[in-house]
Every structure is written in structure tokens, then in C-alpha cells.
């Protein structure tokens, strides 16, 4: 089995601050890989570098065998992504969102519609395909984003905190789809989450990152054993400590707060 993601000595500095500090890991093809860490540990920064939207300071990255800095298009074709913040067009219908994605990825029109139907049926949104996304609940939007991310048949699916702000039922459903997809279509899944029970349940392997460094990488069972913990959450605390991280609010956080104030919710 080949490695779908290879990262060696990856570094990202913002001025004097080192957000990602010489990390190395590999993700084998077809595996579900959990990337865990407290707030501000460098999870999202790493995903951004893997997905071509942020240039690393130094280090080696291969995504599906391509370099995200110099072979952007090949890398972009290889993955689908569900961002931490929503990225749907609220004023289009679900089907239009799917269609637009397919057009951007060069999927032929007829094929686009066929795949959109299959995927929307899979996430249980086909009956609501002609509704505007602004009428969707947070959970429905997430399901739509997962379906959309898979429309161009990517080899890798990136999920940045895909279940944040969702109730347990919806979380359960979403992981069900993802698990099924990764098995059926041999899609490699790379996700971050704060919910350790989710990681414990679905991840074949986890890396724990803290202060920009990877402090442990193994199967959830081995991580628990290694730290002598009953749950992955306890193992996580054992590895990363009890201190609450005081992150400095940046521009994006301020906008998130504005958005939450207007809409009265996280999503």
C-alpha cells in the first residue's frame, strides 16, 4: 500500500511565531487518519499547507505524489475538502452548489448530474435538492459539503473539524457516511476534531500535535495503552497537558464572532 500523504520536516513560521515546527508523518492510502490537538496547536495551518492555500516556510510535502507548492493543480484535483467554516453558496440550491463544484473541477455535465444524485441520495438530501442552502440546518449543510467534496472523485478527503456545533445524532450520521465512503471508494480521510470519542471510533491512526510539534502518533488503542488511559480523551490530556490554551484572537476569529452574533449560532 502506498502513502497518500507524506510530510517531512514541515515548518510554518509567522514572523517569530512557529505555528508548525518540524513535523513529519505519513498517511497510508485508504486509511482514516485523525489529526488531534488543542486550539492553536497547528492543525488548521497544516491542513492549509497540504491543500495548497498556504505556502510552507520549509519542508517536504507530497499529496498523492504531488508537491502542493509547485504542482497545485494536480494536488487540487486529488483532494476534496470540508472546511472548518462553511463554504457553500447560501443563495443557491443544493443541486446548484453541486453543479458549480462539478463545473469548476471539469466534470462533464451529464456525469455531474448523475454523481450529484448518487451523492445527495447517500447523504439523504436528494429530496431537498432544489431548496436554497440558506434554508438548511447546520447538519444538512455539513452533509451537503461532504457530498460536494466527493463529486470529483478525489483520492483524499480533508475534513477540518467537520462535526463542530452539531448534535450527536448528526455527528453520528456524518461519520457513518464518511466511514462507508472511505471503505467503498478507497478514499483516504484526513480529519481534525476536538471530539476524542469520534477519533477513537473512526480513526485507524491518530497524530497528536501540540505547540506545532507532533507529540505522539499511533492507533487510538496504542495511544491509550501508552499513556495508561481508559479513553482517548484521557490519553490526549496526558499527552498535551491540562493548560487551557490562550489563543490570541485574529481577524478570522473576530469575523466568526460577528457572524455568530448575527446568526445566533456557530454555523
Amino acid at each position: 500500500m502506498s502513502d497518500m500523504i507524506v510530510v517531512q520536516d514541515l515548518v510554518k513560521n509567522y514572523g517569530n511565531f512557529c505555528a508548525v515546527d518540524h513535523i513529519s508523518f505519513t498517511v497510508p492510502e485508504g486509511k482514516i487518519f485523525g489529526f488531534l490537538g488543542p486550539n492553536g496547536a497547528g492543525k488548521t495551518t497544516t491542513i492549509k499547507m497540504l491543500t495548497t492555500i498556504l505556502n510552507p516556510t520549509s519542508g517536504f510535502i507530497r499529496v498523492n505524489g504531488h508537491d502542493p507548492v509547485h504542482e497545485r493543480k494536480q494536488v487540487r484535483r486529488s483532494f476534496g475538502i470540508v472546511f472548518q467554516d462553511p463554504s457553500l453558496d447560501d443563495e443557491l440550491t443544493a443541486l446548484e452548489n453541486m453543479d458549480l463544484h462539478g463545473a469548476l473541477y471539469g466534470v462533464p455535465r451529464g456525469e455531474r448530474m448523475k454523481r450529484a444524485q448518487t451523492l445527495l441520495e447517500l447523504v439523504g438530501l436528494w429530496d431537498r435538492r432544489d431548496d436554497y442552502v440558506k434554508q438548511y440546518s447546520g447538519g444538512m449543510k455539513r452533509r451537503l459539503e461532504v457530498a460536494r467534496a466527493l463529486l470529483h472523485r478525489p483520492r483524499i478527503l480533508f475534513l477540518d473539524e467537520p462535526t463542530i456545533g452539531l448534535d450527536p445524532q448528526t455527528r453520528n450520521h456524518i461519520w457513518g457516511y464518511i466511514d462507508k465512503l472511505s471503505k467503498e471508494q478507497n478514499v483516504t480521510v484526513f480529519f481534525t476534531t476536538h471530539y476524542m470519542d469520534e477519533a477513537d471510533r473512526v480513526a485507524a491512526e491518530c497524530a497528536v500535535i501540540d505547540h506545532g510539534k507532533i507529540v505522539a502518533q499511533d492507533t487510538p488503542a496504542a495511544l491509550k495503552q501508552q499513556t495508561d488511559s481508559a479513553t482517548l480523551e484521557d490519553a490526549f490530556i496526558a499527552l498535551t497537558g491540562h493548560a487551557i490554551r490562550e489563543e490570541e484572537g485574529n481577524a478570522v476569529d473576530r469575523m466568526r464572532m460577528m457572524r455568530a452574533a448575527w446568526r445566533g449560532g456557530r454555523r
Binding site: T51, I53, L54, D85, E91, L100, A103, G106, A251
Partner: protein, 248 residues
């Protein structure tokens, strides 16, 4: 090419689907038109300026375009974090195509908003001198829209959050609008004012639109057209470049 097309269509769909927004953003032009048009109209006429509604209508159309266009560019700040733009930034499409599609879509929407303001002006009493020249006015409106959507895109690509928005409105858009020939004629101005007006691209945009509607250009029609075309091309290039450099 397909990316440019689908992104344009997306913006047009969003525009026609929100009539509330279309009508809402006509509020400001309407106030200017009523308050200034009728409030200053009498004095303007006594001073020998002619019909003031006919004079400011093109300025008001330009105002509607400027605000819509700049806002569509500034929206990038929001859209790239919480909207669909983020999705396009990881698609296997060149950033220039995305920038171009977005600017073109935004410019068409701004032009349509300008056209809506034009209809509003007609209702208030604006008279067109020669209807055959209306297509020329529309060309000017489009170039003007393109120019300001490009400016907005350049700014929206550089700003980190919405807090810079009032700065842009009060120190760029408003001065450009007021220090132009939108509300008063070029003649008999103090020297510094005349200089400011001549350096302001809005002056040429408004003159192009006004000239087409009234069949009387203050500059030559080719001057207006040339200035707008060259500036739009330069700013489109700058806007697309800055957009292509966005990192999240």
C-alpha cells in the same frame, strides 16, 4: 473559460434572486435624487444651469454603480472565509480565472444596478436627449462598473477583516464621488477643485454617461472612453494579481 462563465452566472443568479437587495440599494440614490434634485434644482436653474435632475441623474447612476461595485469587491473578505469563494480557491482552476470571473460577474451586477438607478431617474423625471445613444451610455456604465469592481477586488484581497470597510468608504469612495462632476459642473471651480476633478476617474465615467444621455460631453467621448478603458485594464490586472496572492 468555463470557470469564468459559471462564476459570472453564479453572481447574476444571486442578484436576481434578491429583489430586496436591489430595491434596498436604490434607497441612497433615491434620497440624493429627491433631496438634491428638487432642493437645489431651483437655484441651479436660476443660475442658468438648466434642469438639475437631468444634470445629476448620470451622477446618481454612477453613485449606484460605485457602491455596488466596491461592495462586491469588499465582499471577498467575507466570502473567502465563510462563503463559496473558499471553495473556488482550492479548485483546480487558475486564480486569474476565478478573479476574472468574479470581477466580471460583479461588474455586470453593478451595471444592472446602475440601470435600475437609471429607470428610477426616468420615473423621477430624467429626460434622455437621444435614445439611440443609450447603448453608448450602457457601455460607459459597464466600463465604470469594471473599474470599481476591480478596485474593490484589489482592496478586498488585501484587507484582513471588515473593519477596514468604513475606511474604504469614507476615504476612498465618498471623496471620489464628491470630488467629481457628479453633482456640479466642471466650469468656474476654484483651481484646486478643478485639478482634483480632472485627476479623478469618476469625472470621466460620469461625463461618459452624462454625455451619452444628453448628447453633450464636457470632454471628448474618446477621452472618456480611453481613460476608463485604460484604468479598468490596469486595475483589473492589479486586482487579479492581488487576488491570486490570497493565502488563507
Amino acid at each position: 473559460m468555463r470557470a469564468i462563465y459559471v462564476l459570472c452566472i453564479r453572481q447574476l443568479k444571486r442578484y436576481v434572486r434578491s429583489p430586496a437587495r436591489i430595491i434596498g440599494s436604490l434607497g441612497q440614490p433615491l434620497i440624493f435624487l429627491l433631496a438634491l434634485g428638487f432642493g437645489i434644482g431651483a437655484i441651479f436653474k436660476r443660475a442658468g444651469g438648466g434642469n438639475y435632475i437631468d444634470f445629476i441623474a448620470p451622477g446618481i447612476i454612477a453613485m449606484a454603480i460605485m457602491f455596488t461595485a466596491v461592495f462586491s469587491g469588499i465582499e471577498i473578505i467575507w466570502d473567502r472565509q465563510f462563503g463559496f469563494l473558499k471553495e473556488t480557491l482550492v479548485a483546480p482552476v487558475s486564480r486569474f480565472e476565478i478573479a476574472f470571473g468574479r470581477v466580471l460577474g460583479g461588474a455586470i451586477v453593478a451595471m444592472l444596478q446602475g440601470f435600475a438607478a437609471f429607470i428610477l431617474c426616468l420615473v423621477i423625471g430624467f429626460r434622455v436627449h437621444d435614445w439611440l445613444l443609450v447603448p453608448v451610455a450602457i457601455i460607459f456604465m459597464f466600463l465604470f462598473s469594471l473599474l470599481f469592481t476591480s478596485i474593490g477586488t484589489a482592496i478586498g484581497s488585501v484587507l484582513q477583516d471588515m473593519q477596514g470597510f468604513p475606511l474604504v468608504m469614507n476615504f476612498l469612495v465618498m471623496p471620489l464621488f464628491f470630488f467629481s462632476d457628479a453633482l456640479f459642473p466642471l466650469q468656474d471651480l476654484p483651481k484646486f477643485m478643478a485639478g482634483a476633478l480632472l485627476l479623478n476617474p469618476v469625472t470621466y465615467g460620469v461625463d461618459g454617461i452624462r454625455g451619452s444621455f444628453s448628447s453633450a460631453f464636457a470632454f471628448h467621448v474618446a477621452t472618456d472612453f480611453g481613460v476608463l478603458l485604460v484604468l479598468s485594464a490596469i486595475l483589473l490586472a492589479i486586482g487579479s494579481y492581488l487576488f491570486s496572492k490570497i493565502q488563507l
